[in-house]
Amino acid sequence: MRASYRRAAQGVVCVFMLGAAAALGQGSAVDEIAKYRAALQDGNPAELWEARGEGLWKQKRGPKNASLESCDLGLGAGVVKGAYAQLPKYFADADRVMDLETRIVWCMVTLQGYTEADAKKGPFGGPDRKADMEAYVAYVTSESRGIKMNVSLRHPKEEEAFRLGEKMFYFRGGTHDFACATCHGEDAKRIRLQDLPNLTQTEGAQKAYTTWPAYRVSQGELRTFQWRLNDCFRQQRFPELVYTSDASIALTTFLARNANGAAFDAPAIKR
């Protein structure tokens, strides 16, 4: 673990070297970024969130003093292995399509006795506060590593969520007319030097979706898929995406389904 940290720290040093590399020309700058990304793969602090999440998952908590071990993530009560690769999905008990974070909130309410507001409080951690949700998500998703994405649209509400998600993806609005598709609708595009996945094609959707959640080196936090969507809409100049809202679940369904067939490979590590 210590060695992982050291390697991550070296990765951060590489960022500061990019300025120097840029002076050599853009080809070299892009090469240096590729090297930096490769160096990051060496050690991933997401392991810390996974371990903490597993501990919290099995700990008795909340007004009902219960653990989340009997939470049904879609494969039956208590099954964590492989569950994330099939989410989002329709849950009959809630009569709703749910992504992982929505389902964890559900289990915190039904099993542990939290209010919904308390369960959704502060899902994204910051410098002075670690978020339990990010740890739960790290643990649950790590249990799907290597398992093929297999999101179903069999239930009419799953089909509906997918189609609503597709609408959201192409929805232009705000001061800048941006939609998700503005940046993620074509192959081989960049913002500044940042490569953008084409989320309308299988290959791009698979590569992007299977590498979230991720430890973000620039933020020192493990970020969930709800966070990813929230921050995209901020940059689109939209109002704030409500945590576990219907639009967030619909969009996640659209993107997850497009990634079907690829082996899940997260928590990952990103710049």
Binding site: R172, T175, K189, V242
Partner: protein, 210 residues
């Protein structure tokens, strides 16, 4: 053989209504559209300067969303371009060229209008996010075409200056459903800022044209 098939056929006939019922519960287009509208406002909350009215689409946003990344048909495109062309407010003094050094600052500035931005802070155009401009800047995006030598290649004419001002002011006037924001029309940039960016592209002294 035939007698063996009969039960299967019968089973299919009996099952058919059940399949129809299952299909009937799948949402049709009109239902999805209605649901999308109600879902949208319930799924966002105002934050900082980004209020919920940012989700109210104007005609251009609405029509372009419907084509879902595909180019609209010619007649629709022409209608959108005409409507957007009519929004362009040309400078009263006829001066289209500002200061390219300010234009470079505006082209580099990525802040502005996100709910995390200071409403009193700078608002840029962030041109480099999507375009190559001055060759000194290596960190440029590729969503839009390269604009290196923009004026030099097209000629420093009144016609091109006017087109450039109009394109920055309202890009949909020239290319319906473009990815480029309508910087003047949507109040992202001031008239003077638009002029300064025009200068970055059209002043022979600008590094873009070196």
């Amino acid at each position: 053989m035939q007698s063996r098939l009969l039960p299967l056929v019968l089973a299919a006939v009996i099952a058919a209504p059940a399949i129809l019922i299952a299909c009937a519960t799948a949402p049709n287009d009109a239902e999805v559209n209605a649901k999308a509208t109600s879902m949208l406002k319930a799924s966002f909350k105002e934050q900082g300067q980004a209020k919920l009215d940012r989700l109210d689409q104007d005609d251009t946003q609405k029509v372009c969303s419907e084509y879902a990344g595909r180019a609209p048909p010619k007649d629709v495109a022409e209608r959108i371009e005409k409507a957007n062309l009519a929004t362009i407010k040309w400078p009263a003094d006829g001066k289209l060229l500002g200061d390219w050094t300010n234009g470079e600052t505006i082209a580099q500035e990525g802040r502005g209008m996100q709910y995390s931005d200071d409403p009193k802070g700078p608002v840029g155009a962030n041109c480099y996010a999507c375009h190559q401009l001055a060759p000194q800047e290596l960190s440029y995006g590729t969503i839009g075409p390269s604009l290196y030598q923009f004026g030099k290649l097209r000629g420093y004419t009144d016609e091109i200056r006017k087109y450039t001002y109009g394109k920055i002011y309202n890009a949909d006037a020239y290319s319906a459903c473009t990815n480029m924001p309508r910087f003047g029309h949507k109040g992202i940039l001031t008239e003077q800022q638009v002029r300064d960016v025009v200068a970055l592209l059209m002043d022979p002294a600008s590094p873009v044209n070196k």
